[in-house]
Amino acid sequence: MTHLLLRHRDIPDIGKMDVYQKNGGFEAFEKAVTRMKPQEVTDVVKASGLRGRGGAGFPTGVKWSFIPKNIWPHYVVANADESEPGTFKDREIMENNPLQFLEGVAITSYAVGANAAYVYLRGEFWPVATLLDEKIAEMEKAGYLGEKIFGTDFSLRIYTHLGAGAYICGEETALIESIEGKRGQPRIRPPFPAVYGLYGKPTVINNVETLTNVPLIVERGADCYKSLGTADSAGVKIFSLSGRVNQPGNYELPFGTTFRELIYHYGGGVMDDRPVKAIMPAGASSSFIVADDKALDTPMDYASVRTLGADLGSASVIVIDDTVSLEWVISKTIRFFKHESCGKCTPCREGCYWMMHLIERIGNGEKTKENIELLYSVAKQMQNKCLCPLGEFSTMAVVTGIERFPQDFSVKRNNAEVLR
């Protein structure tokens, strides 16, 4: 299948301006600005069924339509903070097909009436930001950015902003705080960013992959886009495959591809031909899926994955085989969330701290029934009490690990079996 997002895999120099233009680049942007009203652009994106690719899966066009028309200016922010363990798709897009992504930012800005857009990249993507700055300069030179674009009254500037190492800044209100020059801590919602976002103004925040879909939809129409994927999950998705597989990497596939196809056909199977034991479909913040035959044959779309007691989220599929103890896995996820908790709300700050203590105790040989029950109870008590999703995320692996893989938390189990 021809790639629609990872187009560099078919056209190696698609990141260059002339190659991108020759392959239809900026035609969708020109069509939108010169022949469509902003509302029509929003409508086509709404009709396409595009849902946010950052993890939440919220309908993109609906998100845009929340922007009020009586408060100005409006802003567009591209979320390029990609920090979820297991997720590495946005970086590949930006490094290799940056113009399609930036065209998506530009079309989105036109649709919601923004004259300034910020691309918020995690600080580690420093070289990517340098590349995007170059591409933005090329777009300005070619007349795609600046004043009176395509001879109309629409003007737009795009700026990059580098974060500095904080997972929490992927949460949209924390990201806004970070651009404003403050600690990246989430705001209490409502008000939502659509009404009170960057600098207190209406703001649309979309993930890099989401925005990279936008030119396709404007160019080919909603029906064409909807013909890919499944009824509730339209289009293609980049699945980031990692963990104990032979060929980890990004795979752009239609929604509805099964876990088995991803792992065995595309991912080349499991290392040392071991059986798959557990799957985390949405990175470290996922619930564990018990990888039986039914699960492996489940199509990867938002609704189907939910029947397995998990969310597809950002589609960052981490494969865990039978050589790995889930006790070890959750010691890693807890360590991550403990490190990344921003400290603003008590359940997350204290909860992660205590989960860390308990899993360390358990790992150090105090694997008593009491410690395991206490760990489970702390995680359960955090649920539905945290200010933002980070706190909730930290509990998912802990709760589902203990519930669905009790044998890995059995007090009789020998610690030497735990993978190092």
Binding site: S83, P85, G184, A284, I318, F336
Partner: protein, 168 residues
Amino acid sequence: MLAEKYPEEVKKILLRYPPEQKRSAVMPLLYLAQRDEGFVNKAALEDIARTLDITSTEVAEIVGFYTLYHDEKEGKYRMQVCTDMPCALRGADKFLEELCANLGVKVGETTADGMITVEAVTCLAACDKAPMFQIQSGEGIEYHENMTVDKTMELVEALRKTGKGVKE
């Protein structure tokens, strides 16, 4: 003073944000302040605070909150190895352990020549290319992916010789 040392950069950074929102420039200015020594000293904190009309405490809290800003001098290059779960499933913990043994340091320590500080960090969005690390110096960050201890030691030697970042 940053504005005297890097007048063009400071001007360009401030132009990225609305004039009444110049506090937004605190993060890029901190990267600039870190360029020479790899950490932000107290004078730079106060300088940035004056430039942006905020308090030096407000600047210091940014340095404290984000992991890529440093307030102490360490090795010239910070070798930040991802040991998060997806990388660890592909051998990152073992890689880090062997690397430390080869460099003769523990995690968090700096080599005797002051060149390399080894750190264990959380996810760097390169889970399919583990073992991997990034090198942070005052000038920026670069990724090194699909690494082995041998390849890393060669890189370390090159860094020691040239004093510059080397891409594989």
